[in-house]
Symmetry: C3
Subunit: 140 residues, 3 copies
């Protein structure tokens, strides 16, 4: 078993594709034909996601949906929220993090993640301010 920790800077709500970064590490560390990669984001206001990585509109549309699904706390429909210490994006970020994956497990074949043709690996930021996000990687 190999482990490592990646760090990425984010700049407000959005998807950061990390497929290439992760693929490089997996290729470097793989020693057998078959493996399993697990990624784990060490935060409660960011997520990991496998999503279409060809058309940028997919990411844009997904973020637009997510914002409508969990509006900011200063919107009238969210007036019941109490946890507001860090601003109107605080509690919605926790809710989004609960509804999207904290971890991903991806099969590895011959040193490559067995992703489908259109699948990319993304870090999803839910907070408004820039953040450093740590992702722990485990390869078995």
């Amino acid at each position: 078993m190999k482990q490592s920790e990646f760090e990425f800077e984010t700049f407000g709500p959005g998807l950061t594709e990390i497929t290439g970064h992760v693929a490089d590490w997996v290729q470097r560390e793989s020693t057998s034909q078959h493996g399993l990669l697990t990624l784990f984001v060490r935060h409660t206001s960011a997520s990991l996601l496998i999503q279409e990585n060809a058309d940028p509109d997919v990411q844009r549309d997904f973020l637009a949906y997510l914002e409508r699904m969990v509006p900011q706390a200063d919107m009238p429909t969210m007036s019941y929220l109490r946890h507001r210490s860090e601003g109107p994006d605080d509690m919605p970020a926790h809710i989004k993090a609960a509804l999207l994956p904290t971890h991903l497990s991806i099969p590895v074949v011959a040193g490559q993640m067995a992703l489908g043709t259109w699948q990319g690996v993304f870090l999803v930021e839910h907070r408004t301010a820039p953040h450093n996000r740590r992702i722990r990687a485990v390869l078995t």
Copy 2:
């Protein structure tokens, strides 16, 4: 570690139970008392799901909920979506795939998945047209 890839044909939005197919493979490949099975769907418009498998109404109700949660792109409430190249079911399928699991990890005991009494393993199709869906299986 054992790996395999399963292929299933789907016929529009719905749940296909794959518990038996997966259970057969796990039983055939298991060589020790304790194992861990990981399933990974190699698509961005289909999902894997563990759900109640006794009453067919549960699957029907879940699909009805999912359709209301993420309506087709030609519905007025979804007019903000831009990614429409493959039809009104295209982007909603990506959103559903983001909100439901891409992978499942299930403990294995004595060659059997340690599912609860009512738990079945399902492939969930989000697109309208028939599709061939590939699921990669990893047994450790």
Copy 3:
């Protein structure tokens, strides 16, 4: 590989923090520097979740959101639900269980889960009545 099964009693919809219980088991069973823990809940009306564990308002707000996202079956907006044999909380519990994790995989370093500063591990109950919930743990 080590496996165990934990049992927790729940008392209606809510989050039960199980971080300490799981941490004790991981520490006791760990024999190498690097590991991977997988938790799997053996039910279709309860979930596992990694969430902020500092401010109790986060849990309260999340439950309030979840209740609005998937209202009970006796609410007018949910009149299309058919699976009602066990009461108005029955089918909404299955929907919540489909939208939240059934399993979690968490890296282990030197006998400790590599959780972020604010991350706790929770069992989420979706049913109204008290239940005994079984969680299977796998450590590799």
